[in-house]
Structures are given as structure tokens and as C-alpha cells.
């Protein structure tokens, strides 16, 4: 088997062994979405208009929840140090690591979003657009969040700091992502927003693994 595929599968296996970590963001995602209709006027029209924003902010928070522990285990076990010292590309390892993080945290969110669409009375026929946007957006958010996690790797109680680093950088993704769904719900062409989102997707996947690797390296230098 291709060694990188093997690496990816091992990473998935590691995450799967800690199933609780996978389930919790999912439950969190559902609970947050469920709180909105309760805390405001649940008229269908208003809810439908707020639905893209709620789903996107909710997805971002659910991803954020898992960030602190993203590299923690590998750091404490000394696995990261081996990665940094090993001659194989750290960037590629990071890429696969984040990809597996996405598969266990965000893919379930995507699979569950049809439920949220029903709860928040978002037009069901636009579900496809919402999912395409969420796919592009959550991958990008995972990479940006992983950068925050890598920068604060050696710090204790880093989750507040990760929030301060991650959330401002993530705003463009949220703007384009939520608006692709808003445009679709208004029967307008959502493609401009999706193209912009895709541009950010490729830009992030191209640049950010390098930054994450650099951030991981500084923890083992000096």
C-alpha cells in the first residue's frame, strides 16, 4: 500500500479509537442549532433567513472545539518530534493529518446538516449548494484552525488563544460560505460566492501546511 495512504489510515484509526472526541462536536453542532429556534421567534421565514449564518457559525465552533487536542496527543507522545526530525516531508504529513482531522470531525457535520436544514426550515432543494459550500469551507477552516493549534502547541490552556488567532482569520471563509447558501435560498446565482470560496480553499491548502510545519518546527528548535 502507498505509504501516505497507510499514514492517513493510521491517523484515521487513531482518531476513531477516541470516538468520544468525534461524537462530541457532532452533539455540540446539533445542540447549538437547536438553541436558535428556542431563543428567538421561530417563525419559518425568519429562521430560514438566518439558517445559513447559524449553520456556518455552528460548524466553525464545532471545528474549533476539537482544535486544542489536534496535535496534543502526538506532541506528548513524542511522535511530532519524530516527524520534525524525520527526512520525509513534514508538510505532507501535516496535510494528511489535517485531512484525517477533517474526516472525523467535519464530515459527520456535513452528513448531519440535512437535519439542521429541516429544523431551520432552509429550502431543502438548495441543500446541494449548502453542502458544496460547507465542504470547501470546513476543509479550509480545519487548516486555518490547525495553524492556530500548531502555534500554541506548547502552551497550557491554549483554547482561548486559539480562538483569538483562528476566528479573525476565518471571517472571509464564513462570509463567502454563508452567502453562497443565502444567495441560493434567494434564488440567485450562488456561483460567485462558491468560486471565491474555492479560491480560498486552494490558497489555504497551498500555503497553510507550510506555515503549520514552520510553527511545529519552532516548538522543537532553540
Amino acid at each position: 500500500m502507498n505509504p501516505w495512504l497507510f499514514f492517513f489510515r493510521t491517523e484515521l484509526g487513531v482518531s476513531w479509537r477516541e470516538r468520544r472526541r468525534v461524537m462530541l462536536p457532532l452533539v455540540f453542532f446539533a445542540i447549538v442549532a437547536f438553541l436558535f429556534p428556542l431563543t428567538m421567534n421561530p417563525k419559518a421565514g425568519l429562521l430560514a433567513r438566518m439558517a445559513p449564518g447559524i449553520i456556518w457559525v455552528d460548524a466553525m465552533l464545532a471545528i474549533f472545539l476539537g482544535l486544542e487536542s489536534l496535535f496534543r496527543h502526538d506532541h506528548e507522545e513524542g511522535i511530532l518530534e519524530q516527524w520534525v526530525l524525520s527526512p520525509t516531508s513534514l508538510e505532507l504529513r501535516v496535510l494528511f493529518k489535517v485531512a484525517s482531522f477533517w474526516t472525523v470531525t467535519s464530515l459527520p457535520l456535513l452528513l448531519m446538516s440535512p437535519l439542521l436544514v429541516l429544523w431551520l426550515s432552509f429550502p431543502v432543494q438548495e441543500l446541494g449548494i449548502l453542502l458544496v459550500g460547507l465542504f470547501l469551507g470546513t476543509v479550509t477552516l480545519c487548516f486555518l484552525g490547525a495553524l492556530g493549534a500548531a502555534l500554541t502547541l506548547t502552551l497550557r490552556q491554549s483554547s482561548m488563544l486559539i480562538a483569538v488567532l483562528f476566528l479573525p482569520i476565518a471571517t472571509p471563509i464564513l462570509i463567502f460560505g454563508a452567502h453562497s447558501a443565502i444567495l441560493a435560498a434567494r434564488d440567485l446565482d450562488p456561483r460567485p460566492a462558491l468560486y471565491l470560496l474555492a479560491t480560498l480553499f486552494f490558497l489555504t491548502v497551498g500555503i497553510v501546511p507550510k506555515a503549520i510545519s514552520a510553527a511545529l518546527r519552532i516548538s522543537y528548535e532553540t
Binding site: V164, V208, I218
Partner: protein
């Protein structure tokens, strides 16, 4: 002394520490003079705007602060790049010294923009493209400052903050564009600061104020950089000699 040897010597912390003091003092006086002239021109000499009356005068503090908030971020990004690539300690110190100043300029731009908004829009906060991206810039500054000071080892903090600053430098234009795009989509009350060509009698105090703010920043950044260098070189003999009277 050629320019190259001058720059090379400037990179050495003890030399920088020595010569930055008289330069800083000169910048402080020039900055103060320019700001006083700019205030006199902006608050007294310039005629009221035909649309905004005297309310437009907030521009003379808002625009220079907003411009400085972006300029300082650029300085941090360039210094971070130099610090990461060439491992120049002076560059790390400049970046660390600039971040709090940039955050302060951003705060002034936000508050004055909001105070300008009240008479113009009738409310203190509108999700106007410029105010929104300024707010995100403020959070970015806070992130850089906190990250830089979170580590026990200052070198780690400098490098982590430098990586964040470089990603932030790519992000700032994207944020600005995305917020602009979002604005046009909702056709909100987009606020054009001054609609027509600005008259020379209104323009010159603005330019003088901007120059004054630049000198003020140059003074403070030299001052703060001296402290940051001391903190980074505290085991060195020269640093200990400097501290003793």
C-alpha cells in the same frame, strides 16, 4: 560609510541602541510640531464641509489612525519576514515593539470612526466595510501581541508571532475584499467619507497630520525597540553596561 556597511552596523543591537536615542528624540519633536500644525489647520483654518458641516473634522484623527493601523501591520509583516528568514534579532524586536502601537492606532480608528458615524448614519455602529475590516484587524493585532508574550522563551514567541503576522498579512487584503463584497451584496448604507474631490484647504492639514503620526510612530517604535532588544539580550555584557548608570 557606505549604505551597506551602515545597514550592517544598524543590525547590531548595541549600535542600534546607541544611535536610536538621538534619532527618536528628533522624531518626537518633528512629530509634535507636525501634529500641532495639522490640528491648527484642520480644526481652525479649514472651512466646514458643505455636506457634513464641522463633523468632517473627525477625519483629521480618523484617517491618519486608520492609515497607520495598516502601515504598522505592513512594518510588522516585513520585520517578521526578515526575522524568520535571516534570523535578525533587531527585526524581531521591531515587530514586537510595533504590535501594541498598531493595536492602539486601530482602536483610535475604530472609536473615531464610530463617533463620525453617529452624526452621519444616525447610529454609532454600522456594519460598514471599512469599520468591519478595521475591527478584524484589531483582533489580529491582539492575537499577535498575546502570542508573542505567551512563551517562556522569547525566541519561540517571536517566531510564532512572525508566522501569524505573515499569514495575517495575506489575510488582511482578503478580509477587506470579502467585507466589501458582502457590503455590496446587501447594499447597506455604504459610507463615502468625502464624496467630492477634497479641497486643498482641507487636504493639506490631513497630509500634515498623517506625516505627524508617522513621526510619532517612528519615535515610539524606536523607544520600544530599545526595550525589546534589552529583553532579548539581557545576558550580554553590553546590555548590562547600558542599564547601570
Amino acid at each position: 560609510m557606505t549604505l551597506k556597511t551602515f545597514l550592517h552596523r544598524l543590525g547590531s543591537p548595541p549600535y542600534f541602541y546607541q544611535i536610536s536615542k538621538p534619532w527618536g528624540r528628533a522624531f518626537a519633536w518633528i512629530g509634535l510640531g507636525l501634529i500641532l500644525v495639522g490640528l491648527y489647520g484642520g480644526l481652525w483654518l479649514a472651512p466646514p464641509d458643505y455636506q457634513q458641516g464641522n463633523g468632517f473634522r473627525i477625519m483629521y484623527v480618523h484617517v491618519p489612525s486608520a492609515w497607520m493601523s495598516l502601515f504598522v501591520f505592513m512594518v510588522i509583516a516585513v520585520a517578521s519576514f526578515i526575522g524568520l528568514v535571516w534570523r535578525m534579532r533587531l527585526a524581531d524586536a521591531v515587530a514586537a515593539a510595533s504590535a501594541p502601537l498598531g493595536a492602539a492606532f486601530t482602536a483610535v480608528a475604530l472609536v473615531t470612526g464610530s463617533l463620525w458615524g453617529k452624526p452621519m448614519w444616525g447610529t454609532y455602529w454600522v456594519w460598514d466595510a471599512r469599520l468591519t475590516s478595521e475591527l478584524i484587524l484589531f483582533f489580529l493585532y491582539l492575537g499577535i501581541i498575546t502570542l508573542n508574550r505567551s512563551f517562556e522563551d522569547q525566541k519561540t514567541g517571536d517566531k510564532a508571532a512572525a508566522i501569524l503576522a505573515l499569514i495575517g498579512a495575506i489575510d488582511v487584503p482578503i478580509v477587506h475584499y470579502s467585507v466589501d463584497w458582502w457590503q455590496t451584496l446587501h447594499q447597506g448604507s455604504s459610507f463615502k467619507g468625502l464624496t467630492s474631490e477634497i479641497a486643498p484647504s482641507m487636504l493639506w492639514p490631513l497630509l500634515v497630520m498623517m506625516a505627524g503620526f508617522m513621526f510619532y510612530y517612528a519615535w515610539l517604535v524606536l523607544w520600544r525597540t530599545r526595550s525589546e532588544i534589552l529583553l532579548r539580550e539581557m545576558d550580554r555584557e553590553w546590555a548590562q553596561r547600558v542599564v547601570e548608570p
